[in-house]
């Protein structure tokens, strides 16, 4: 706001402000410069001079109204609370089933499935040292495994998040199970949570299975298949989590993620798809760090930028296409191994930031996340944290409660500006696909990661129990590490090997030949063939292996 405008509307402002400034300077001693993680300088005080609600309707408006800065729906959490969607994955399908039933009994309507690391590598459980199986996720290599994992789970009534990258075999197994149970695919809802192959190539090599061009082809086929056959499914989840965990600043994360979404949208348009049909089913997935206000500003700015780009740049006409739907997960990177109980407080603050940002679903980490997969007890505390914030702190009562804060609105505007500048840079580089292929994004993230690392090591960025207040460090309780039951896992592998021998080899052979042909033809839909293959008992490893041969093995670009 200009000085004259302030003087006109708030007579006496300048004088009072000057008075505060003088007293502040006198008492503060050394006034250090404070910058947030994105490098934006943070002042001690924000006033109408910084932000005064100019262009309120244009920039803020109301929840459920373009550009959705205050929220994508009119009622937000007051009408319908955010979805609690806790990630689960451990051991055998039976282990998973036990855990998921507990969650559903407690009233959850949304579940999430995390496959074993061997699955991420694209191999079956019999191809790996058994010591490494089932420790971070569930081993599901066939439709039968999925059937056991989802025993008694009402597939048509709950929403499932599949944390499974291209070629999305887990969804294929789920669809095959639904068919077996007579549940129509039109009632299956959920999200392909890890469909963002560009973010994997850049920042989570664990999840990167097929070549960039191969993953691109499979994703587009996947989107078309879901549109036709599983219309309640979100095939695209654009993921900011990996890049932020790899060290990208909040501004960078949002800019890169939105650029990726633009890339996928453009790819769909180039294929001749209707942009509104496609964007309506775009969702986003972010980490929530403990930089509280910065996260709130990040999401508000992202919402506004996305709405405008979807409408003006991509030409989407349906308001559903302009709405920035996102799932937030509290960031494991901020959690510490030292004094792990402190992480409960950290997760609570991260969750608060996510809730006040207006997210649609939330996962809260267990406090031992940095060390191991959660136990029942630590998982329970993670869920209780959300319940406390909702029921006791009443964080659902007001929509966009930080809206109108001089600080938060100024920060939202500033972060928006920086994000738009970065998006422009990526446009200049030819778009996100090309920028990632050339290693540009990786280099930027590497710089940010190193810069933050140095701040922690120098003590400029304080982490309790790590570089300060270590004297309080107590030796951990000495709880024996929880591992999946080794013998049970070995039996699981043995039964899997037996299953492969007993299924119809002819059917499997045929399905793989059909899949191979589809991979070589632009006119066929690869994902349709994957689902057919899953139905006749082809395994996860067999599908991934074939696609790697036909479409290229995913070797990430290594940038030190």
């Amino acid at each position: 706001m200009s000085e004259e405008a302030v003087q006109l509307s708030l007579p006496g402002f300048e004088q009072a402000h000057g008075g505060w400034r003088a007293e502040y300077s006198r008492q503060i001693g050394t006034d250090r410069v404070v910058k947030n993680r994105s490098g934006i300088e943070i002042k001690p005080l924000y006033t109408p001079r910084d932000w005064n609600g100019d262009a309120f309707l244009e920039n803020l408006g109301f929840p459920g109204q373009y550009p959705y800065t205050r929220g994508i729906y009119p009622t937000m959490h007051r009408g319908r609370t955010w979805t609690q969607r806790q990630l689960i994955g451990l051991g055998t399908p039976e282990d998973y089933n036990k855990r998921v039933r507990v969650i559903l009994d407690a009233g959850a309507t949304a579940i999430s499935l995390l496959p074993c690391n061997s699955g991420f590598r694209g191999v079956d459980c019999d191809a790996v040292d058994p010591l490494l199986l089932g420790t971070c996720g569930t081993v599901i290599n066939t439709t039968d495994h999925m059937d056991r994992a989802l025993d008694t789970v009402p597939l048509g009534k709950i929403s499932t998040a599949m944390n499974d990258p291209s070629p999305f075999t887990l969804l294929a197994f789920l669809l095959a199970v639904a068919k077996r149970r007579g549940i129509p695919w039109t009632s299956i809802t959920g999200t392909s949570n890890q469909s963002d192959y560009i973010s994997h190539f850049i920042a989570n090599h664990m999840f990167y299975r097929l070549s960039l061009s191969g993953a691109r082809r499979v994703l587009l086929d996947h989107i078309e298949f879901c549109r036709k056959h599983v219309p309640g499914w979100n095939p695209v989840s654009v993921v900011g989590q990996h890049m932020q965990q790899a060290g990208a600043t909040p501004v960078e994360t949002m800019a890169f993620t939105i650029s990726t979404a633009l890339q996928y949208a453009q790819d769909c348009i180039d294929r001749g798809m209707d942009i509104d049909h496609v964007l309506r089913r775009f969702t986003f997935f972010f980490d929530i760090s403990i930089s509280f206000f910065e996260e709130v500003a990040k999401f508000r700015a992202g919402r506004r930028i996305w709405a405008r780009l979807a409408r003006e740049r991509l030409g989407a006409k349906d308001p559903g296409s302009w709405r920035f739907k996102f799932h937030g997960q509290t960031s494991g990177v901020d959690l510490t191994v030292q004094q792990p109980l402190n992480n409960i407080a950290r997760v609570a603050v991260q969750a608060m930031a996510g809730i006040m940002s207006g997210l649609q679903s939330l996962h809260t980490d267990a406090y031992d996340e940095a060390i191991t997969t959660p136990t029942e007890e630590t998982a329970r505390i993670a869920v209780a944290t959300q319940n406390i914030l909702r029921e006791e702190a009443h964080l659902c009562d007001v929509i966009d409660p930080l809206g109108g804060s001089y600080y938060v609105e100024t920060l939202t505007d500033q972060m928006e500006q920086e994000m738009l500048a970065l998006i422009g840079k990526i446009d200049d580089a030819g778009g996100m696909y090309k920028a990632a292929e050339a290693g540009l994004i990786q280099a930027m993230i590497g710089q940010s990661a190193l810069a933050f690392q140095e701040k922690v090591e120098s003590g400029e960025e304080k982490v309790i129990g790590v570089n300060c207040y270590q004297a309080d460090n107590v030796a951990p309780a000495g709880r024996p590490t929880e591992r999946p039951d080794f013998e049970r896992m070995q039996r699981h592998v043995a039964s899997f090997v037996a299953y492969k021998a007993e299924r119809s080899q002819a059917d499997v052979r045929r399905a793989l030949d059909v899949l191979k042909r589809a991979a070589g033809s632009e006119r066929e839909n690869i994902y349709e063939r994957i689902v057919e293959a899953a139905e006749v008992g082809v395994t996860h490893g067999e599908i991934v292996n074939l696609l790697r041969e036909e479409l290229g093995f995913g070797h990430p670009l290594v940038v030190v």
Binding site: R121, L131, L132, T135, C136, L450
Partner: protein
């Protein structure tokens, strides 16, 4: 900053075996070992044990740094056995990452020199690797001196 003064410079392999793919930590360690004057052979994750043994031999490394999350540390003893069988038992070995307390003794007993958890100070890691490399280099130099006789 700690700097390694070995001449020729210490040769360190930074790698990941097992299934985990999170390499942010190992990349940062590789970078600061380089800045400390060491030659670092850096590999992507998911290296097979035979590939690591072959690399360690061809590159005549002094120290191997394994970055381990999840349960990858459980197969480190298998790597140790493979190295010894190949006549590479003299190479120093450290593990970085998350290793539950109750599983540390097994690693140290198998021959791992040190385990560095997250938040370990950079200088501590560099100093340990440098000292380890110097010790290994002594063994190698002794062999060279014999040849010259």
């Amino acid at each position: 900053m700690t700097v390694s003064k070995l001449d020729p410079p210490a040769r360190v392999l930074v790698t990941k075996i097992g299934l985990d793919g999170h390499d942010r930590g190992s990349r940062i360690v590789a970078a600061f070992l380089r800045d400390a004057g060491m030659e670092v052979i850096y590999t992507p994750p998911w290296q097979s044990i035979p590939a690591v043994v072959k690399l360690a031999m061809e590159e005549d490394v002094d120290v191997i740094g394994i970055s381990s999350l999840a349960t990858d540390h459980l197969i480190v003893p298998k790597l140790v056995d493979a190295l010894r069988s190949a006549g590479l038992g003299h190479i120093g070995l450290i593990v970085g990452g998350i290793v539950p307390d109750d599983e540390r003794p097994a690693l140290l007993h198998a021959g791992v020199s040190a385990i560095f958890g997250p938040g370990s100070p950079r200088d501590e890691i560099i100093a340990h690797v440098a000292a380890l490399a110097a010790k290994v280099r002594e063994i190698k130099n002794a062999e060279f001196r014999e040849i010259a006789q």
